[in-house]
Symmetry: C2
Subunit: 207 residues, 2 copies
Amino acid sequence: MSEPRIPDASRRSERSRRAIFDAALGLVSEVGYAKTTVEGIASRAGVGKQTIYRWWPSKAAVLLDAYLDLAARAAEEAGAAPGQAGLPDSGDLAADLRVVLRATVDELNDPRYDAPTRALAAEGCTDPELGARFTAALLTPQLELFARRIEAAQAAGQADPDADARLATELLVGPLHHRWMHRTGPLTHAYADALVDLALRGLTPRP
Amino acid sequence: MSEPRIPDASRRSERSRRAIFDAALGLVSEVGYAKTTVEGIASRAGVGKQTIYRWWPSKAAVLLDAYLDLAARAAEEAGAAPGQAGLPDSGDLAADLRVVLRATVDELNDPRYDAPTRALAAEGCTDPELGARFTAALLTPQLELFARRIEAAQAAGQADPDADARLATELLVGPLHHRWMHRTGPLTHAYADALVDLALRGLTPRP
């Protein structure tokens, strides 16, 4: 079979889109959200400002799409099938959670993602509107994937049916995020494993 | 007994110190860390810039002290004795943790603390040096108080002796911080209680 024929205009569009995303993430990492401008992104990407405004209404919209694209590529590199609908389900909740939290650790330790993630987390922390957009587009869907995997484990008798799946999700994601955010300790695979273990068994001694 | 006699100079110093802290926290809440300057703080506090530099070497140092003072006053309002050395220990770990996490919820919901806490968390997220100073001065001592209370519970047979007390601390503090930071759900006393409950019993069904 021959390659699908992509018209030149589409190729150019895709190249521009990629250049705009790279410029947006590079700038926000280097100078922060506040000092990143549509003009600056256009100039670094080698496109006109109007090209950006034709596709996105605002700086926040460009950065949101750039970050979603980055997250999708990171997920693909980590072995997730494109468009994958859920967390792995091997039937072993602990094993699956370890795989997912180890991948999160790798992502947070990757310098390509660290700077833009920090810049956008910082901006979302003080700007409720931007924070809400990122949370709705990126974080809430991720939390939902965890909650669905935990619900599947509840249905399979592997997790306490009385536990709130969303709260259980926060028990796994919250400590990792706290350690990353405040740099209170090393983010390693061993940490991810220990976190899964403690969240599953809890702090109360078992008889 | 008569009131202790405080020399006028000390009173003036204390008034200036308080005015500088209020100005620093007000400014960082309104315009963010980056745009807060020692000049701006001095001008709003009604003192000379040299007064600030006599006591603090930098903007970061003023803000760190202002924030530590704010946290100390918040702890006092929440009923902690001044200079209290640890978390409450009534002999009931769950009850004590609920008291502490409910007080944390109240603090995070208080608009007086919300804005400066967000401004400084955001700055610490992207500025590793400032973040490390705040973590060392404020966060690490708090995490240590939790860890010591959990170790006491382990010694009393109320908590699994194999659990890492510092990791268990993150299991309690991390989800609360994550929900606050990303505004993914309401921060209520009921949430604090449910979090303590799930962290203690874990997600695995008990036989």
